[in-house]
Each structure stands twice: as C-alpha cells, then as structure tokens.
Symmetry: C2
Subunit: 340 residues, 2 copies
C-alpha cells in the first residue's frame, strides 16, 4: 500500500508483552486539531512516520541501549555508533525512502567521555555510506549505561507501508537470515562468534538501494525490515494488514554463519532479530521474474519464505506438523530480562 | 540572519568544557557528497538543523536524563514528559518555526514500566498545546536512570539563526528569568520551592507564538532560546555571530519567584538555565515601539538586557565594575558533576 496523500491510522503491531507496552506508549498519538493535523501522512506504528513538509518526509527514531541491544564487551565504540545508525537507517529502507539527514542523541557515563569521538565516527560512517548528512544531536552525561538515540529523515515520495499485504501474495526476504543471532548466541554461551557472524551483528547493511530498486520495479503490497526477527516482524506485517502469514522454515535463506541447515539454525533464522534484511509481500510471479536481476545487482538473493492467507497471526509450517507461533522470539523482550 | 536557501556552516558555540565536548561530538558533521548534500539548509550548531524537504523543515532533538536534568523526587512522571517535550519545542521557537510533529524515545527501568503512560500523557500535552502531533518513537528498558529523547519537526520557511547579531543591536529577552533556577536552588538546599518557582521549572512554556509574532514584525538579526542560562546562551549567540555581547544585570526581568532584586537574584537570572524564554538581537528603536503590543498580546514583557558590540565574548556590566564572564554557569556542566 502506498501511503502518500492518504492518512494512515495507527498501524497494528503483532503479539507480545513488549508490543503491548509500545502500543500503550504510542496510543492516542494521532494528530491534534492544530498545525500538525494536516501534515501527518503516516502516523505511529509503521517503520517510519511520514509528514508532509512540502514533499513527504519519513521520520523515525531508533534507540540503542548498552546491556539491552548489545553488551559493552561485544563491540568497539565505533561499531556501536555504526550499528545504531545502520539500524535507524534500515527503518527508512522499510519505507522505500531515501535518507537525507541523521541526528543523534548520546547518553554517556562521564568517565567514558573519550568514547564520544569514536561513537560519532561510526555514526558518520553509517550515515555517509547512505548519502545522509549528520545535522545535529544532543549529548548528556548519564549515571547509567551508554545509549544512543538515532533520528533519521528521508524523502519518501511513495512510502511502502506494512498494511497492504493481500491473501495470495508471496512473502519474500532479501539476503540471508540468522547471522546476527548466531553472533549473540556465541557470545551468550561464553564463546567467540565467527568472523562472519560477528560482521552480521556489528556491521549490518541497511537495504536502502535494494528497497528503492524493488519499489520501482514491483508492486510491493507491504514492506518491513527485519529488526525483531522474521517471525516477529511477519506478525507485525500480518497485524497491520489484517491477514494471516504462513512461514516455511524449510525455505529460509540461512546465513553462512549458521553452518548446516539444522533445526537449530532454522530456529535462529526464524526467531533471531537484527538481520536488517527486508521482508515484503508481493505477487510471486513478478518477484520470481525479477529475482535474478536483483541478485546480479546486489549480490544477495531474494527468497520466498511464505505466503499471505486470509485470517490473522503467523503460522510456522513445520516438518513435524504445523503450529501457530504463540510467543515472539526472546531477543526483543527488553522488559522481561531476556535480552542480551 | 535568515538561513533559508543559503547553507550555514557549523554554528560556533560559546566557551565551556561541556561545549568543547559537544563541538567534538558534532564536528565534521557536514553534508557528504550524496543525497543529503543539497538538502541541508542549516547544519549542526544552531537550535535546530533545517533540511529542504520540499519546503524548509527544522529538526532538533533534546535529551532529558534523570539525575542530570532533574531528580526523580522533583517531578511527577507526567511533568517529566511535559517538560522534556516543552524544552524540545523551545528549540523550534528559537528558529521561529511552527511545530508539526514530535517523536519520543524513552529509556525506562523495567521495574518502572508503569510510568510510561503518564510520561507519554505529558509528552502529548506539551505537543498538542503547540499544535504538533506525536507521530512515533521508540522504547527500551535500561539498567540506568530514566531518559527521554524528544525529536521535534517544524515548518521553518524563514528560520532565524544565531549568527546574525550586529554591533549596535540591542539584546532583548521575553518574559522573566531565574524562576527555574530558584526552584532548583530550593531543592538543592533541601527545601521546597515556592509554587511559582516550581511551575517555572516543571511547566515551562515554549515561546512559539511569541517567536513567530516577533519574526513577522521585526527584523531579528539573531534568535536563541534560554536553555543554558542568559550568560551562557548569550555566549553562544556572540560566538555564532562573531561579536561581543554586554549584559546589564541591573536590567534583567527577575522572575517573581526570586523575590527582591538582590545580587543573588540577579546572579540566578543571569546564570540559571532552563527558563526557555527567547533572547534576540534587533534594532532597539523598533523593539521599543512594539513592546507594548507584545505585552498586550502575550501577557509577558520584552526587556532590553544588553547590547551587541564589536569583539568577542560576553561581558557582564556590574555595579562594582565590570568583568568578562570567565566560565559558564554550573547548571549545564553535566560532565563535571555539578548538575542536579
């Protein structure tokens, strides 16, 4: 669904305690009857909001907190800045928007203020890689863990939302899944991730050019980026579109860091978050036809991982029968103490 | 100086260790040679950055951290949300911009997640008071103190920057100064602030309508909002404009919470931060002529507090002689441990 010029309601989120809290956090966030009322093209709940600022501008903010989204010993400060910014820019990819500008607020323990320069170097690297300028920010000491809040703005003449998936569409993903989760799993087990897995976690590539390429050539009915994991993000897409999604674990493009296609590897590719690949719904025929050209252009595959059906929720089609996904994967349940 | 259509460099900041760190934090933040390059009208260092999104859009982000910007026992959660958002919106006032949208990222200790609803009610109240919609945000647990990062976007067809003050201009402020500092002082001494002082701290009013009114009627050569305190913010304005500013403590419009015009009261009005009044440079004649109409419209005074001279830095003209302000007031030196 293209949202330019039409006002979208609050996009529904999938199940989970974390999302209950986010729902409450953003509910009643609609435009008031003032200046803002006419200018909000897409409200809360999608990957970005979109305001009419002469032309449609997508805005999003993405928070990274040490001890929640990463542990200090996993990443160098420059990588922390890069990764936080890449994750924020991925929200622009999820709207098929073109990055314009980045602002960053940094909370830093006073005894670690020498890290600010490296953190900002990482922020700038991620922004400049995508053609965006770092135009502002804020800085404060904190008695708690380091955090970065990265704000992104991008031109979004024809934003692709989460809410337009239709029964009969195929569900497709870019790239490979589970690499970041493999790194986190290795760290949590006290080990050292492989270089491949570590890179997937520390240096994700926001799929901005890929999203624009796809949006120009295909009628994408819904688009989201994979930050919460395929199962969780498919649930958001299903809820926003008012449809059911069936996922086929046997079809998942497993990241090379996962090794052989074991059951554990598929679980990681299905449930692990922060791959920052794209997931979209579209007619299968058209995608199949374009897939070789996509791979030639970007060096990554397009893979069909499931289908849109009438109904609601996400169903995982398993070798040993099928079952509805009853709870979201653990990675993003920040308030349950299950996060890194 | 009006910045629309002309590219502004990094605005210079006044002296102080805190600003050294912010300078480093934002330096080399110019637009890259990519998509962002043509669209950044005002870069880092002013109250907001301005991007060309079809029409000029001002963007700013403002961070509030518990234990740095306020203490938990001082404010109710709703007030924390309101105050953080009002402070962010004040940056739009400082550009004479019209608020459009607010996004907010919230870091919350897991055991305090029930505060999210009240915090967001405060955010919405501040936003809706100014005609802005709350269009998005992010939420994370944190093992540290609560924090909010509030992003504001506003239409800025003719942004007024910090950098255009000219020798011969008068320096003027809206409203009364020192009220918020009086509340902080009372709390830090273990007392209870007066209702007047507490309101000044807990419920500042971003001077958005006032700024637009002034910008329509006057040629404002420079404009800033008073977040760091008059002396500190005048130093930013002087540095950005490449001029000196003389401040006259005897002229300051003392907040009623400060009681009689003692030396201590004047120090508080001069150095205390977070009044969120406006400070601007303009020709005295024109301002004097408009002042009664301004007061009739908004119920607050316009007061001349000093003058722009050739040179650099801020000079405080004292009864007992005059001296250059050698260090910024303590309120905003977050990394020195002198903040609340």
């Amino acid at each position: 669904m293209s949202g330019a010029g039409q006002k979208a309601p609050f996009s529904a989120l999938g199940p989970g305690a974390e999302f209950d809290l986010i729902r409450r956090f953003l509910e009643r966030g609609e435009a008031p009857a003032g200046a803002g009322a006419d200018t909000v093209l897409v409200g809360p709940g999608d990957d970005c909001a979109v305001v009419d600022a002469g032309a449609p501008l997508a805005l999003s903010t993405d928070l990274t907190v040490e001890g929640v989204h990463f542990r200090r010993e996993w990443l160098a400060p420059e990588e922390v800045g890069y990764r936080a910014t890449a994750a924020a820019l991925s929200d622009l990819a999820a709207m098929a928007a073109t990055p314009v500008a980045v602002l960053v607020s940094l909370g830093l323990p006073p005894e670690r203020k020498e890290e600010a320069t490296a953190l900002m170097a990482g922020v700038r690297r991620a922004a400049h890689d995508c053609g965006a300028a770092v135009i502002g920010g804020d800085l404060s000491a904190t008695a708690g863990p380091l955090f970065l809040d990265v704000v992104v703005a991008g031109a979004a003449p024809r934003p692709v939302l989460r809410g337009g998936a239709r029964p009969g569409d195929g569900v497709w993903v870019t790239g490979w899944l589970g690499g970041a989760a493999a790194a986190v799993a290795a760290w949590l087990e006290g080990g050292v991730p492989s270089a491949l897995a570590r890179t997937a976690f520390a240096a994700p590539v926001p799929r901005l050019r890929e999203a624009q390429w796809l949006a120009r050539r295909l009628e994408l009915s819904a688009l989201i980026d994979l930050s919460d994991g395929l199962a969780g993000d498919a649930a958001h897409l299903a809820a926003a579109s008012g449809v059911a999604i069936e996922l086929e674990p046997q079809s998942l493009p497993l990241h090379a860091a996962l090794g052989a296609g074991s059951e554990a590897a598929r679980r990681m590719a299905l449930g692990g978050g922060e791959d920052y690949e794209l997931c979209f719904a579209a007619g299968d025929e058209a995608v199949r036809e374009l897939a070789p050209e996509f791979t030639a252009a970007f060096g990554i595959p397009l893979t069909r991982v499931g289908a849109v059906r009438a109904g609601s929720g996400v169903t995982i089609l398993g070798a040993g029968g099928q079952g509805e996904l009853r709870q979201p994967p653990a990675g993003f349940r920040h308030f349950d103490g299950t996060a890194p």
